[in-house]
């Protein structure tokens, strides 16, 4: 009996290489699925296409378009790595009766950690400091190499989803004053647990924050959310940290 015939067919873009699934993940996946590589699919005859019941979307690949969806008659579900879904046409996928899943919980702690890492590195001038400490010819200028205090500063979180909330939990331990702006206000207990104050108007958050952390999903509403006007509302001493998507701000506005 061939094991391959019993396991459901899972389409992946490639293994290894630039954007492929990681080699040490393959063993695990092969226990549950019959892996079908995109290259094989493109070269094969009809029967491989019929075998594909699911797509494992890693690093936004393979690209899900109408042609692909039409060629996979038995496709039931697409699993997306990470939490952002802005690279997908969700309506198109739904129109084929295909279910969609992402992996929000898996990424939330790591992404919150990255947000804090960026905030701290920027405030304390870590990269610059590393260059001063390690570069061969640099003038060692210790005394006046000063950064900005993180403890006790004001953090404004734009987008208080699961990642934004984890950032608030971390920032609270740094005794930061936390403001947040979100489509909907969080429950009182959730606000109290992190000491976060709701800013219904984004402007109120922007005027007060020493650090502005952008943690929204990319949607038509958040596209270019932070533009010239918003940046001018920010303090001249403020730092902007973006861990959501690049298109949330207007590139030409960054000075």
């Amino acid at each position: 009996m061939m094991e391959g015939e019993e396991l459901p067919g899972l389409l992946v873009n490639e293994v290894g290489g630039m954007h492929g699934i990681l080699h040490d993940h393959v063993e695990f996946l092969r226990k549950h699925f019959c892996l079908i590589i995109m290259k094989e699919l493109l070269e094969s005859k009809k029967n491989l296409r019929k075998k594909v019941q699911a797509i494992y979307l890693w690093w936004h690949k393979p690209v899900i378009d109408k042609d692909l969806l039409q060629s996979l008659p038995n496709l039931k579900v697409i699993a997306n790595s990470g939490v952002g879904m802005d690279h997908l046409d969700l309506k198109l996928v739904a129109s084929f009766g295909v279910k969609m899943a992402n992996a929000p919980r898996a990424v939330s702690s790591s992404t919150a950690d990255t947000g804090m890492a960026l905030l701290l590195a920027s405030a304390r001038r870590l990269v610059e400091g590393y260059h001063v400490a390690s570069s061969p010819g640099m003038e060692y200028c210790e005394a006046d190499f000063l950064g900005v205090e993180v403890t006790g500063a004001t953090l404004g979180i734009i987008g208080m989803g699961s990642i934004g909330y984890k950032i608030a939990l971390r920032a609270k331990a740094f005794e930061m004053k936390i403001l947040y702006h979100n489509r909907t206000r969080r429950k009182e207990q959730e606000e109290q647990a992190v000491g976060a104050i709701y800013c219904e108007k984004l402007d109120d958050l922007l005027c007060q924050a020493d650090f502005v952390m952008v943690v929204v999903s990319l949607t038509p509403q958040t596209h270019k959310l932070i533009g010239k006007r918003e940046m001018e509302l920010m303090k001249p001493t403020a730092t902007l940290v973006n861990i959501s998507r690049g298109s949330i701000w207007k590139i030409c506005s960054i000075c």
Binding site: G16, M18, H19, G20, I21, L22, W58, W59, S109, S110, A112, D113, T114, M116, A117, L118, L120, A121, R124, R125, L126, V127, G129, Y130, V132, A133, S134, P136, G137, Y140, C141, E142, A143, D144, F145, L146, G147, V148, E149, V150, T151, G152, L169, R170, K172, A173, F174, E175
Partner: protein, 327 residues
């Protein structure tokens, strides 16, 4: 003349690499008659008698017996920062001179920097930044990974004010916290940060994903982390030092990193500072070094200046000295 009424305080210099900041000097001049080391050396016999305090910024001016003998009216030395390992406390005491430091003001910034170094090292921040801005970068590879901080095990060696603040921060990252200290903290303090005491440092070293050094430099902590300790650590572990360079046997650290005995090191402090430009630590890929910036924020430096001023004023008035360092 105003200058005659204000007490005379010796400083190294104003401005330059290690001098008192220009904007701090203004504040100090309102309260003291500042005498720079240069001025003092040009007029030792006259100025020596007038100096009643030393404002020690960045460990300067260097205080030795010769200086103490020439300052008969010296009452107090106010030293910036928490560490006093650069001072001969016994010598100062023998001359009846009081000493103060600024342990509390530096604590949050130093704890913040400890967290910054841990996150930056673990998540390969400097490398990532370089890749993101490099003119040669065409794509970001999918297999470029760091190690997770959230949920990992942090071992804090030295659970004083700074070590405890690190624990408070690490708890929010859901880290498992172990600590080693001369004395165990009380139960409420341990519970508040979820920290487990390791009476033997070996137990901490064997379990920790991150080892953070936050001890004072004393004869007991000198080369506390040597070849033996590094070999006890996990090969995936990262060593973070926010205490003093001499707490680590630096040669042993170089060897351990070269042989992949531990994964990486993130150091705000080294010995000496700065390291000679051809030092092997500067050539190793998995080493992040910062130029002793633990307390280097604008706000904290102002607070330090204010604390030191208070200590000097109290010392000169014969009042109890805030932040006095006792033998």
């Amino acid at each position: 003349m105003e200058g005659q009424e204000l007490p005379c305080v010796l400083i190294d210099c104003i401005g330059g690499k290690h001098g008192v900041y220009e904007d701090h000097a203004e504040f100090l001049k309102e309260r003291f008659c500042l005498i720079t080391m240069k001025e003092y050396l040009e007029n030792k016999s006259f100025l020596g008698k007038k100096i009643r305090a030393i404002y020690m910024w960045y460990h300067k001016p260097v205080i030795n017996e010769e200086l103490l003998q020439s300052l008969p009216n010296l009452k107090i030395v106010a030293s910036s920062g928490a560490g006093v390992d650069h001072l001969d406390l016994n010598l100062l005491s023998s001359y009846g001179v009081k000493v103060s430091n600024t342990p509390l003001t530096v604590s949050t910034d130093t704890a913040d920097l400890g967290m910054a170094l841990m996150l930056a090292s673990s998540r390969r921040l400097v490398e990532g930044h370089q890749m993101a801005i490099s003119p040669d970068t065409e794509y970001f590879p999918a297999n470029w990974l760091g190690a997770e901080v959230s949920g990992a095990t942090l071992g804090i060696v030295g659970m004083g004010i700074i070590g405890y603040k690190v624990a408070e921060r690490a708890k929010a990252f859901e880290m498992k916290i172990l600590y080693h200290n001369r004395k165990q903290r009380n139960k409420e303090e341990e519970r508040a940060v979820g920290a487990t005491y390791c009476e033997k440092i070996d137990d901490l070293l064997q379990q920790a994903d991150f080892v953070m050094l936050a001890v004072k430099l004393t004869p007991q902590t000198h080369k506390l982390i040597g070849k033996r300790e590094l070999q006890l650590m996990k090969p995936t572990a990262i060593l973070i030092n926010i205490s003093r360079g001499l707490v680590v046997d630096q040669d042993a650290l170089v060897e351990a990193l070269q042989n992949k005995v531990i994964k990486a090191a993130a150091l705000d402090v080294t010995y000496p500072e700065p390291l000679p430009r051809d030092h092997p630590l500067l050539k190793l890929k998995d080493v992040l070094i910062t130029p002793h910036i633990g307390s280097a924020t604008v706000k904290t430096r102002h607070l330090m200046k204010e604390n030191m001023t208070e200590s000097i004023q109290a010392g000169l008035a014969g009042l109890p000295i805030p932040n006095e360092v006792l033998l």
